[in-house]
């Protein structure tokens, strides 16, 4: 990271910044780097986050992959600003990188204090109050997002259950694997395909524990909007319920925080219309999707796009989704 260029960028957002401190890369997304830094000014310190595309074409998807559903960082910054204006808790965008900045593609945003690490959120005593409020807060944030007119956002991919199913089935076929449980899940998903929603709404696209930042009092920010799209609002709720995001709180279906009914009640209390059957559909589709994503990560390693050993470890997590699909579709009585 070129710190002279970085300081020049920071000065666009914080004109009286005199120096940078505490620059460190945070572990995180596969397609984006996240850097934490502080800008010193005569009147105090401004905590910031730089989110930028992984360099050198690194990332899970091959360059130019037509099935890459992620939006670019410029668009992500625009989405953040738009949903912040309607009351969704997200960090304030401070500057968007331009080619002349010489730092790649990305944006600078406020660093919101809090915790994203799931095991701490779900198990530490310090977050007991936050856990208690989590589903109410998530319900409110989701309803605020889903009630946002599509027109106020940048143009986003329009999705549907049929399109998502086709996309993830295609990705799975491309791997050429033989996993009977995935075939069973695909049959179920085709047979139970819900009707398209009458009015597709803005979606986060990756709303799950791990992408939610909490402070001691509750939800402080919804992060990682690179998969934002437009579609069935229940898709965000179903993905939140995928078992892989419960991190040891297995029976707390809603993100490890509580039962599904508590999430649906919170969503309704905030003015949304919840449909448990659709949420379940999206949970099954989401579980399959995560399984294919695990295989995608192994493939990124094999193809040389990302040689980090972590990708191979995640690749072996595909079998956890087979187990969770069996628990959903063929529970042992």
């Amino acid at each position: 990271m070129d710190e002279i260029r970085l300081l020049a960028l920071v000065r666009r957002a914080v004109p009286d910044a005199t120096a940078l401190a505490g620059l460190q890369r945070l572990s995180g997304g596969a397609n984006n780097e996240t850097w934490s830094l502080d800008a010193h000014t005569p009147s105090g310190t401004v905590p910031l986050i730089l989110r930028r595309k992984a360099g050198d074409g690194g990332g899970i998807r091959a360059p130019g992959d037509p099935d890459d559903a992620s939006i670019g960082p410029e668009q992500e910054a625009a989405v953040l600003s738009a949903v912040r204006a309607v009351g969704v808790p997200v960090p304030q965008v401070r500057a968007v990188l331009e080619p002349a900045d010489g730092l790649g593609r990305g944006f600078l945003m406020a660093r919101v204090p809090g915790e994203t690490r799931p095991k701490r959120l779900l198990h530490d005593a310090a977050f007991a109050e936050a856990r208690h409020r989590a589903l109410d807060d998530c319900g409110r944030a989701l309803v605020a997002l889903h009630a946002t007119p599509v027109a106020v956002l940048p143009a986003l991919r329009v999705s549907s259950a049929a399109a998502e199913l086709a996309l993830w089935e295609r990705r799975w076929r491309r791997h050429g694997g033989a996993r009977p449980v995935f075939e069973l899940a695909l049959r179920w998903l085709h047979e139970h395909l819900p009707d398209p929603v009458e009015r597709p709404v803005p979606l986060h696209g990756d709303f799950r524990t791990g992408n939610l930042l909490f402070d001691a009092r509750g939800l402080a920010a919804v992060l990682d909007w690179e998969l934002a799209c437009v579609g069935d609002p229940m898709a965000d709720l179903g993905w939140f319920c995928v078992a892989s995001w419960r991190f040891g709180a297995l029976d707390a279906v809603a993100g490890g925080f509580g039962p599904l009914d508590a999430l649906l009640d919170a969503y309704r209390a905030a003015g949304g219309q919840a449909d448990a059957t659709r949420v379940r559909y999206w949970e099954v589709l989401g579980t399959f999707r995560w399984g294919v994503m695990c295989l995608d990560m192994a493939e990124a390693w094999r193809a040389g796009r990302d040689r980090s050993v972590e990708r191979t470890a995640v690749g072996r997590r595909a079998s956890e989704t087979e187990l969770d699909l069996l628990r959903l579709l063929a529970p042992v009585r």
Binding site: P180, A243, V309, E320
Partner: protein
């Protein structure tokens, strides 16, 4: 007596060295990376030790399951015709195999000794002739996938759910034995075996 370290022992030595010699000297991102390396090596070690028995048990169950499927035809499910009794024992044996596999994940020495005792599929569930026939496994696994995809086999088919459960539990026992869904389901599978 053979004294050269085998693959599982080499991996075990690497794990021990990283854990006791390297990791204590590392901090920050390097320490995180080392822990990921340990995760990967643990999985590789469990695969070396436990996959042969899991494969053999899967093959035995697949022969039973697919023997009656007309779509398989030329695939040559060798013993399929005579396997209705065999498949019954394979199915019950596989439940035992599943719990034995998960047990070995926590009890390394027991697993090593069973692997050291020789043949993949020394486990009773595998059947004595399983090892030489394992090339069939990918073919039969693919045949099951096709049968499910085409709707010829579904959850109403006797034995399918039991096969998938036994198979997935054996695989996750290798891939990720601390995964909460696995811990829960492996425990209840053991309880059912005990009942």
């Amino acid at each position: 007596m053979e004294t050269t370290p085998g693959a599982a022992e080499l991996i075990e030595a690497a794990i021990e060295s990283i854990r006791t010699e390297l990791l204590p000297a590392l901090t920050g991102r390097a320490a995180f990376q080392a822990r990921v390396v340990l995760t990967v090596l643990d999985t590789a070690r469990r695969e070396v030790l436990d996959a042969p028995a899991a494969d053999a048990a899967e093959l035995a169950r697949l022969r039973g399951l697919l023997g009656a499927d007309p779509g398989i035809g030329a695939v040559g499910v060798g013993a399929a015709a005579s396997s209705s009794a065999a498949s019954g024992s394979a199915a019950s044996g596989s439940a035992t195999s599943g719990s034995a596999t998960s047990g070995s994940a926590t009890s390394g020495s027991a697993a090593s000794s069973s692997a050291a005792s020789g043949a993949p599929g020394a486990d009773a569930a595998a059947g004595t002739d399983a090892a030489p026939r394992l090339p069939e496994l990918p073919t039969l696994r693919r045949a099951l996938c096709d049968a499910i995809r085409e709707g010829r086999i579904d959850l109403h088919t006797p034995g399918l759910a039991a096969h998938l459960w036994a198979d997935v539990l054996a695989r996750v026992a290798i891939d990720q034995p601390t995964y909460p869904s696995f811990v829960r389901e492996a425990a209840s599978a053991t309880d059912r075996t005990r009942d």
